[in-house]
């Protein structure tokens, strides 16, 4: 298969498979290389070639170019080493069960094409992270394969059910690998959905993808496994970097935690006070107030009702828009300004909504501190209009808790009771004065 092609070379070239070795020429200059995947943002008629030097370049294949395919490249293909396969059936008893929900825990780079292939098989993942099993077996159970922004409220009970099953099968602890974008929502949801937990449920993610040597995935995962083995913990937590270093990790309560930065490794913060503890040099250090394990057995405390919403107030938000947004919903969480305020022009629709039995709950878009209706007149009027103030709950946590409460009762009074009651330590009664770090 060679010989110059007199028709438009571009048409023929783009039908060639990735990894094909070709020589293209404009009659003056000849390029030899391997066809590699087209970049999404690449220009028109650009052929992407990996040259012998390892560099990728783009060549604009104008009409008049010729090409021919070549036999195998002279250079030996650069590929990853074979992965030892493990086929022995593995039991959950005494193991940490690692539930994967998507994103990439591990991936391999094919230097020949530049492609990145996610690694999903248990044996392959463990070969990737041999240190994971340093202190005991880890079993990997795929739940689904979804980017975290594609995880919806109906997925939360599915994950929770896998946790219940893992503990029933004798797991020592459960780790959930999850994309970081909505990790906080899932952590809050599992906090409410899982009752009588006999051990920790640890959500973990990575802010740097695993196709790079500096990925935080491996160290986060290792810290998460250490927390999952800790017998003092019986709640849902998130374990991620506590700072830019790879040797200190924070343990956040699932209802307190929020992603506060789009890219930093230490993006996750516990709002309103310190986290539950830290992992330092592989050692789990806990502060006061960690919820101890229950005797079990764990159960799924569902369902959830997705007919709830979260609305961020801003100065131009009209009453019409807010009312339209809340149509068909049984409840809505407002992220109000300051101590929990919205423009007074919203009072009318809120009054009629609460009169119809809709839950209207208030949180603060400041993200830290209480929503408090008593300080200003607007707050007092909102309170009189039937708005439920949810203290220092994060707007997201309040939203998740709303869906959970709606799932538990058709009666608005009962839903309000559930929302008000502290369930898993989500309210912080005391806001630490802070001090030198």
């Amino acid at each position: 298969m060679s010989g110059a092609d007199r028709s438009d070379a571009w048409v023929a070239l783009r039908s060639l498979p990735m990894g094909e070795h070709v020589e293209v020429s404009d009659g003056e200059r000849t390029w030899t290389g391997t066809i590699v995947p087209h970049h999404e943002l690449s220009g028109d008629r650009i052929l992407q070639l990996k040259l012998e030097s390892g560099y990728n370049i783009g060549i604009r294949i104008e009409p008049g170019f010729t090409f021919r395919t070549l036999a195998e490249s002279n250079a030996p293909p650069v590929r990853g080493a074979p992965v030892p396969g493990g086929t022995v059936p593995r039991s959950a008893t005494g193991s940490v069960v690692l539930l994967t929900t998507g994103g990439t825990i591990a991936s391999r780079v094919d230097y020949e094409t530049g492609g990145v292939r996610p690694v999903k098989e248990e044996s392959e993942v463990l070969a990737f992270y041999p240190e994971l099993e340093a202190s005991g077996a880890v079993r990997i159970v795929p739940v689904f394969d979804r980017l975290s922004e594609d995880i919806a409220p109906e997925d939360w009970p599915t994950i929770a059910q896998h946790v219940v099953t893992a503990y029933r099968d004798g797991a020592a602890g459960v780790v959930i690998a999850h994309g970081t974008d909505t990790l906080g929502f899932t952590a809050a949801a599992l906090s409410f959905l899982l009752a009588d937990l006999p051990g920790p449920v640890v959500l973990v993610g990575a802010q740097r993808s695993p196709d790079r040597p500096s990925s935080d995935g491996a160290s986060n995962l290792r810290a998460a496994v250490a927390v999952a083995r800790d017998p003092r913990i019986g709640e849902v937590v998130v374990v991620m970097h506590a700072g830019p270093s790879d040797d200190r990790f924070a343990i956040h309560r699932g209802t307190w935690v929020r992603k506060m930065h789009s890219s930093r490794r230490d993006a996750f913060h516990s709002q309103n006070g310190p986290p539950l503890g830290y992992v330092v040099d592989g050692r789990v250090e806990l502060g006061a107030g960690v919820r101890p394990p229950a005797a079990g057995p764990p159960r799924l405390d569902g369902p959830m009702d997705a007919r709830g919403g979260l609305l961020w107030f801003y100065p131009g938000l009209t009453a019409d828009r807010a009312e339209t947004f809340s149509k068909g919903m049984r409840g809505i969480v407002l992220a109000g300004t300051g101590l929990g305020h919205v423009g007074s022009w919203h009072l009318t629709w809120i009054r009629s909504a609460t009169a119809r039995g809709m839950i209207v709950a208030m949180t603060t878009q400041c993200l830290e501190g209480n929503a408090d209706p008593y300080v200003y007149a607007t707050g007092r009027e909102l309170l009189r209009a039937g708005v439920l103030y949810l203290g220092d709950l994060l707007p997201e946590t309040a939203y998740v808790k709303l869906l959970w409460a709606l799932g538990h009762s058709a009666d608005p009074k009962r839903v309000e009771e559930l929302l008000r009651a502290d369930r898993v330590g989500e309210f912080r009664d005391r806001h630490d004065a802070g001090g030198p770090p």
Binding site: S53, G58, A81, R208, S214
Partner: protein, 619 residues
């Protein structure tokens, strides 16, 4: 001999993938620790360089400061490529007659020595197929790349390497020549010419370490080695010639080993600690030694570890470098024994222990840690074994004395994959046309013009270019200063200035130099006083008057000078009467000592001659 160059020049355009300044800073405001994983779980054995780095551990501390943001900390994705840096790289490509690619794709090149927080260096191929003519010979330019500089080592211990992040992300233009260089002098000339071309864009950083060269050298029958990170242009010749000599010696050793049928070198060491119990001095002295003494037999290596006559290269040094690379002080080998506190009886005993035959040699190693001593033996054995094949592919570090030292094995094929966080850049024709129009005058054309316009010699212009002083030369000349005086100032007087104690750098502004020359021309002080005046400026004198005071050159008026001359002539009237015109020389010396450079020497001579003539009209 065949050699090729890779020239890396830092740009002063701001960093390549973020908005930080491309400047170094010694302020550290934050430090943090990272571990780099071997790239994506692949086997390490594939790449000897990566494996070697891996064997040295993976924990790194980074220091960040005012030249850093989250991008260098690997806490934020890279921003799109700095357009000014890319324009500069494209300009350099055009100046080198290279062909830009149609679309530039940024790659990740795996580097796990910790010098990049990401674990890779971002690099992009910008252009290929250029050429460069130097002294009538044509060299090929294989590629022009644009890449980010790495962090610089600022300290560390066995357990942890410390890097400063200020340098990370500074744009580097990398220019690779073909292997057509055949001597050290050529290598230096090509490096100088490339440096001048890159500087002509006026967007480069200046100073030591801002331009670095990698030298690829091989000789017939040898193997390519890479001398990496040469900062001193003037040592290039020595490095290149020295490497050729080293390879030649190693090939000679290989031939001799083959002639002797030397078998593969075993790696099993023999412990000979008790044989040295009575050694009282040297590295094996029982009192100072903290661990075992291990011996390794090298079959067929007798007399091959020392330098062959007339050379300075020796295999023993190469073996010692291997031991040093993992922290040992060195080795002892049988070609240098007895010595170092070891006597003939000790040597004899070790030879018996190892069952040594006539053509065999041995190596002794000691270290506080037995494990490390064993690793050293393994490395020494491996290196000795490679001697049977010739020259191992190595990366070598340049040393300040013009020699080089083993650094690590030559990396395999670069492990690169696309940097998906940075969009590819289409190189539009309009951009190239715009750059082509604003291209700086080529360095060759500029030199020819300077010779023509200013009547300078080609040699002086070459020296101005080598001193990176063409710009200040033209500026000062355009201010009306004498071209000859300006050239002397920039080529000799400024580079040769005697720096006052505690001052390490002196970069006078063009305006300061202009004022200096103008004052000398106006007779404020003598031309001979220029070095002293420069020293005064280097020491911090803030203006001309201050410099005149500090250097003691200020404050001699014409009247004072005339008075001084009259006085000297009066006091020596008898000698003038006796010797006539011949009195001039000794008296001129006296007067000049008193003038201390405050007035021009020609002026003094003229006044003195006139005064002598008045005193003795016959003279």
């Amino acid at each position: 001999m065949k050699a090729g160059l890779e020239v890396h020049q830092q740009l002063a355009t701001g960093k390549l993938f973020c908005a930080c300044p491309s400047e170094l800073s010694d302020d550290v405001t934050l430090s943090f620790v990272r571990r780099l994983r071997r790239a994506s779980g692949e086997g390490l054995a594939i790449d000897p360089a990566v494996e070697y780095q891996a064997s040295r551990g993976f924990s790194y501390r980074y220091e960040a400061g005012p030249s850093n943001c989250l991008v260098e900390m690997d806490e934020e994705p890279p921003h799109p490529v700095n357009p000014t840096a890319l324009d500069t790289a494209l300009q350099v490509a055009l100046l080198l007659h290279a062909r830009p690619v149609d679309e530039i794709e940024v790659m990740r090149k795996i580097v796990v020595d910790g010098s990049n927080t990401s674990g890779f260096q971002r690099t992009a191929l910008v252009a290929v197929d250029g050429r460069l003519d130097v002294a009538g010979k044509r060299y090929s330019i294989l590629s022009v790349c644009l890449e980010e500089d790495a962090a610089r080592k600022s300290g560390g211990s066995d357990a942890e390497v410390i890097y400063r992040l200020d340098r990370l992300g500074i744009p580097l233009i990398e220019i690779a020549t073909g292997p057509e260089i055949t001597s050290g002098a050529e290598a230096r000339a090509v490096a100088e010419e490339i440096g001048a071309i890159v500087r002509s864009t006026r967007r480069v950083r200046r100073g030591l370490g801002t331009i670095r060269e990698d030298l690829n050298v091989s000789i017939e029958g040898g193997h390519r080695t890479e001398i990496k990170g040469v900062q001193e242009l003037r040592l290039i010749e020595q490095y290149v010639e020295g490497e050729a000599a080293r390879q030649s010696v190693l090939l000679g050793i290989r031939d001799e080993l083959r002639r002797r049928n030397a078998p593969p070198v075993g790696t099993v060491a023999t412990e000979v600690t008790d044989g040295f119990a009575d050694v009282t001095s040297g590295p094996l002295a029982a009192a100072s030694r903290k661990g075992p003494v291990l011996a390794l037999r090298l079959r067929g290596f007798a007399d091959l570890l020392r330098s062959p006559p007339g050379t300075d290269e020796r295999l023993g040094r190469e073996l010692a470098e291997q031991a040093r690379s993992i922290g040992l002080r060195g080795i002892l080998h049988s070609d240098e024994l007895p010595g170092y506190g070891v006597d003939a009886a000790h040597v004899e005993a070790v030879a018996r222990r190892l069952g040594l035959e006539r053509e065999d040699a041995f190596v002794l190693v000691t270290d506080g840690s037995r494990e490390r001593a064993e690793r050293a033996i393994a490395r020494v054995a491996e290196r000795a074994d490679r001697a049977r094949e010739g020259i191992p592919g190595e990366t070598r570090d340049p040393l300040p004395d013009g020699r080089t030292r083993f650094s690590r094995p030559l990396p395999g094929r670069e492990r690169m994959y696309p940097e998906t966080d940075v969009p590819p850049i289409s190189v539009e024709r309009a951009r190239l046309e715009r750059l082509a129009e604003s291209l700086p005058e080529s360095t060759a054309a500029r030199r020819a013009r300077l010779v023509r316009e200013y009547g300078l010699s080609e040699e002086i212009v070459r020296q101005l270019a080598a001193a990176d002083a063409l710009d200040p030369f033209e500026t000062l000349a355009s201010y009306g200063r004498s071209p000859g005086a300006v050239a002397r100032l920039l080529v000799q007087e400024v580079p040769g200035v005697a720096l006052p104690p505690g001052i390490v750098e002196f970069e006078p502004s063009v305006d300061a130099l202009d004022a200096l020359l103008a004052a000398a021309e106006a007779g404020r002080f003598a031309k001979e006083g220029i070095p002293n005046m420069l020293s005064a400026f280097a020491g911090g004198a803030k203006d001309l008057e201050a410099a005149l005071t500090v250097s003691g050159l200020g404050g001699m008026s014409r009247e004072e000078l005339e008075g001084l001359v009259e006085k000297v002539v009066r006091e020596n009237a008898r000698m003038i009467a006796a010797r006539g015109g011949a009195a001039f020389s000794p008296l001129m010396g006296d007067v000049m000592r008193a003038v201390r450079g405050r007035r021009d020497g020609g002026e003094v001579a003229k006044l003195l001659r006139e005064a002598i003539a008045r005193s003795n009209p016959a003279a």
